[in-house]
Each structure stands twice: as structure tokens, then as C-alpha cells.
Symmetry: C2
Subunit: 307 residues, 2 copies
């Protein structure tokens, strides 16, 4: 069961020309070990977001191929769009899913960054957990002023120089931000009160920025049409801050105000272990192993067979 699975969500600066979008997306089709989950092109952002899951090596190979297609067709000097960007291939985040640690994902990002510059000539900045300078953990810092500013400052300001490559961007493709980050779970809790102050107090109690759980970001807001309020959260490390622990803390805080949880929402994708951990908590299942779940064992066996 040595299967390694990562998620990778590369962003490309092309959301309008269908033939370019197709050429990029096709690099991720029909590749053994690469599974194309989704791709969305946004005309206003002029940006393409591709969601991939699979084994590290074939995903990296396909990314190189896609980067070459992007480099051929996208000229950042002509690119316009509503989303901040610095390159034709703007960001490439690697996320560990199964059989691979965060440290291994960071190594993967660094090795891929070196190879990427060698094969495409596009310089690389490392971000999030793969950042080599602490301030570059934050994507906004790297992307400050976007392509137009960075192409000048990379040459002159040492603190804006790429992590891999010369002190100047690629003449048309700009630069690429490559990194490693944990899987982000979007988890919202709806409350049976119209008083947004209560939702805000509860959000403050659970989120890191005001002293709550270290891996929770969150705000309290009103869902006007429904006449209820919500604690809207991102769990940036669902292993350290499990869904059940965050939810039970919210239920506990809500009782203080005579408020109850109406329902919760998991927005978008969630790794199965995030669900299993909460199920095992509530059901008090001792020694529960993911391989006991029929579909997960099937996935292991299919992956071995596919190799």
C-alpha cells in the first residue's frame, strides 16, 4: 500500500481563448496516474484553474507539458484580467492527500521548481509551507504589484528576486509560484439567531486570530435571505483541528446565548480522513482503520493494479 496521492491545483493566466485552454487542459488527460477532477476558466479573471489528484511523478510530468503550452501561447505583457497574477503559469500548489507527508510535499515542490526552471526557463518563487524566505509564505507578498511591477523589481530589488532562476522574469511567461500547503476544508455552521453579533462572538471564540484554535480561520455573518446567521470557517489543518472539535466548541458557545446549530455545510471537497475522524469520535469506534472502509480498500487495490 505504498500509494502516494497528492492534490495539485495549478492556475494558468488564460480564461478566454478556448483553444489555448483546451491545449493546456489536454496535457492532464489520458495520463496514467493523473486524474483530472475539474477545470474552470473564468473570462473576467482571464484565468484557468485546474484540479488534479494523483501520483506525484506523473502529475509533475504533465505540469511541465502544460507549462510549455502556456509559455508558447500566453504573453503576460498583453494579459489582462481581474485576478492578481505574475505569470502564464501563475501558481502550482502541491497538497498531501495519502501516503505522503508535508515534508515530502515540500521536497517535491523544491525539486519540481528546479526542474521547472531548467525545462521551461521560467523562474520560480516558493510559497506557503515550501517558502524559503519566511515572508514568502504569503502569496500576496510574492504577487505584490503583480507581473507589471515584479518584472522590474525582480531585477533591482534583492528581496524580490526569484528563488530559482536569474534576477529577471521570463520575457513573456513571467514567473511561477510553486508551493506546498495542507488541504483546506471549508466548513460553515448555521445558527438559529438573526443576531449577527452572536455569530461574530462565536467565530472569535474558535478562530486563531482571536485566540481560538490554531488552524481555524473564520468570521460571523448574516444570511439575510434566510434570516439566520453563520460562522463561516476555513479549517487550514483538519488533522490538528477536527471538524467535531470545532463544531462541539461552537455548540458549547452557542448555548451561552440560547442559540442552536441549525445545520452545517461542507463546501467543496473534503478528504475522507476528515470525515472518518469525526465519525470515529461520535460513534466512539476504537481502532478503526480506513482499510475497513470497502471503497477505500477498493481504491488501494485499483491503484496498485493501475501502476
Amino acid at each position: 500500500m505504498a500509494m502516494q496521492l497528492i492534490e495539485c491545483v495549478p492556475n494558468f493566466s488564460e480564461g478566454r481563448r478556448q483553444e489555448v485552454i483546451d491545449e493546456i487542459v489536454n496535457c492532464f488527460r489520458d495520463k496514467r496516474g493523473v486524474y483530472l477532477f475539474d477545470h474552470r476558466a473564468d473570462e473576467d479573471h482571464n484565468r484557468l484553474v485546474v484540479s488534479l489528484v494523483g501520483a506525484p511523478a506523473p502529475i509533475c510530468d504533465a505540469l511541465i507539458e502544460a507549462a510549455k503550452a502556456a509559455e508558447k501561447h500566453i504573453d503576460m505583457n498583453k494579459h489582462q484580467g481581474g485576478h492578481p497574477r505574475i505569470g502564464a503559469v501563475d501558481v502550482v500548489p502541491f497538497t498531501p492527500i495519502k501516503g505522503i507527508s508535508m515534508d515530502e510535499c515540500i521536497e517535491l515542490a523544491h525539486a519540481f521548481g528546479e526542474r521547472y526552471y531548467k525545462e521551461t526557463g521560467i523562474p520560480v518563487y516558493f510559497y506557503e509551507d515550501a517558502a524559503k524566505r519566511p515572508e514568502r509564505k504569503r502569496l500576496e507578498v510574492i504577487r505584490k504589484g503583480q507581473y507589471e511591477t515584479l518584472k522590474e523589481e525582480a531585477k533591482t530589488k534583492p528581496e524580490r528576486r526569484p528563488d530559482v532562476g536569474e534576477a529577471c522574469l521570463h520575457p513573456t511567461a513571467g514567473a511561477t509560484v510553486i508551493g506546498a500547503r495542507k488541504f483546506l476544508v471549508a466548513f460553515n455552521v448555521n445558527l438559529d439567531t438573526t443576531d449577527v453579533a452572536i455569530a461574530k462572538k462565536i467565530a472569535a471564540a474558535v478562530r486563531a486570530s482571536s485566540g481560538g484554535f490554531c488552524c481555524v480561520k473564520g468570521i460571523g455573518l448574516a444570511l439575510e435571505e434566510r434570516g439566520i446567521t453563520q460562522v463561516s470557517m476555513n479549517l487550514v489543518d483538519y488533522e490538528k483541528n477536527s471538524l467535531y472539535r470545532v463544531l462541539e466548541t461552537i455548540r458549547m458557545e452557542a448555548r451561552r446565548w440560547g442559540v442552536s446549530v441549525i445545520e452545517t455545510e461542507v463546501y467543496g471537497m473534503i478528504p475522507v480522513n476528515a470525515i472518518l475522524e469525526s465519525a470515529a469520535y461520535y460513534l466512539q469506534i476504537a481502532d478503526f482503520k480506513p482499510e475497513q472502509v470497502l471503497e477505500l480498500k477498493l481504491l488501494d487495490i485499483m491503484s496498485e493494479k493501475a501502476e
Copy 2:
């Protein structure tokens, strides 16, 4: 997402001759759409139990191949073993997992039974949900007196005649019991009391035979070495009687006796939907879709790619 998945656990009357075991098990290897989960040969029972998951059509093809191997090597007139049996291929149960209803599994069992007799000459009895006579729902009724008795009575007693085939068994391979049944979840709840009477009362409250939940079988017993007691259950329809509902009922009954749940055990395999349903209950997740679980979406995509 038209993927159909079934589980099938055929039992063969050979647990001693390794070369015969290998020949049978090999019929399930390297077949597109057939995933061999497990196989266990028991010398005392002189019996081989194979666990398969996959698509209905290729599983049926592989079963025919394996039945021909069993028919070639196993002579029921010489077979001895501690487990009740009537044939070289003793039982073949089909269980719906995904994208296939129980009615479709019953149809599958019936169509497979006809084909099986045509291609192997081994007569067939239908059991569980695929039974064509109500008393044959129960395997014990079909297997009464085992091979030695049935080979005589099939000829003379109309109520013991096979559902498919002549009124006489195959001269060496006997007969095969084919059926459809739901996935059985083994779920145990451990209690912090040494008083087995309490575990028995709680078991009686939740099991069908004494008026509890219709799809729960269970007993109360002592775990002597641990000095605790257990409600040991089989959930014969986890969709009708969810784990959370059974567990919360047990917690509620236990309170009457001042007793708590120490922990629970899921023994063996469990379909992911049984876990998701309980997670969605406790976490109050609204509109949660299995496709939101990354690994389950991956399984869908891999299955499509493998077809």
C-alpha cells in the same frame, strides 16, 4: 457516473489442496473490473472463501471460470470438512454496493443462476433476497442434511428440487446456492458494567427478535478478560437502521442503569455510506454528497478510466 459495484463472496469446498485453491483463486486475478479483496482457505472446514468487489459482468465471467475449475477438481462424494456444504461451489451471494439496487442484484442472481447451470451443468438453489420459495430465504433450509442427504432428496422430494436444473444434483459437484443479500455490518458496543444482565436487556431493546429495530440482530455478552460487557450486533440493513440511531438508542437505554458506552467496534468491512450517514447526522451536515469526498470522487474517475 454509471459505475455499478457489487460485492461477491463465493465459497468453494476446498481448503486443503493448495494447487486447487490456487487454480480457483487465479480465476479472479488480473481480470479487468474484478478486484480480489481477500481469500481464506480453512483446512478444518475444508473450504475456501473468496472476497470480490467489482462490476457485475466481469465478476460473473470469472465465477463461471472458477466454477469450472472447482467442478474439475472437487468430488463432493469424497469431500469432508467441518462446515455444512452441498456443492463444490457452495454459495455465491451478490451484494449491492454502489449504482445498483437490491432488485437489480436479485435479477443478476437469477440470470447468473440460469447461465451457471447452462455452462457448468451444476443445478442451482436461490436464497436470501433472491429466493423463489419463501422457505429458501434461509440457507440452513436449503443445506439441511448437506450434500449427502440432498443428493437423494433432490430426486424424490419436490420441495428439495433445485430452482434451476433437473431433479438431481451434479454427480461430483453437487449443487450451488446463489443469492442476493444486503451488506452486513458487524457493530459491537462495549459497556462499563460487569453485569451481563444489563447488556442482555439493552440488546433485547434494540434487536428485531424482541421488538427493537427491524434490521438489527444482537446479543448481550460478557467480555470476561476485560471485565466489561458487550452488545454484539449485526446490522443487516445499515441504510434502514443507521449506526448512529442504534448507538444513540443504546446510550439512552444504558443511562437507565447508570451505565456508559466505553467504546464501539466495527468488525470487518463497512461501506463508506454507513460512515457518511452517521458523520452527517452528528455533524449536522446539510446536503452532503459522497462526491464531495476526494477519495470517492477519485474512485469514480478511476473506474471510468479503467472501463
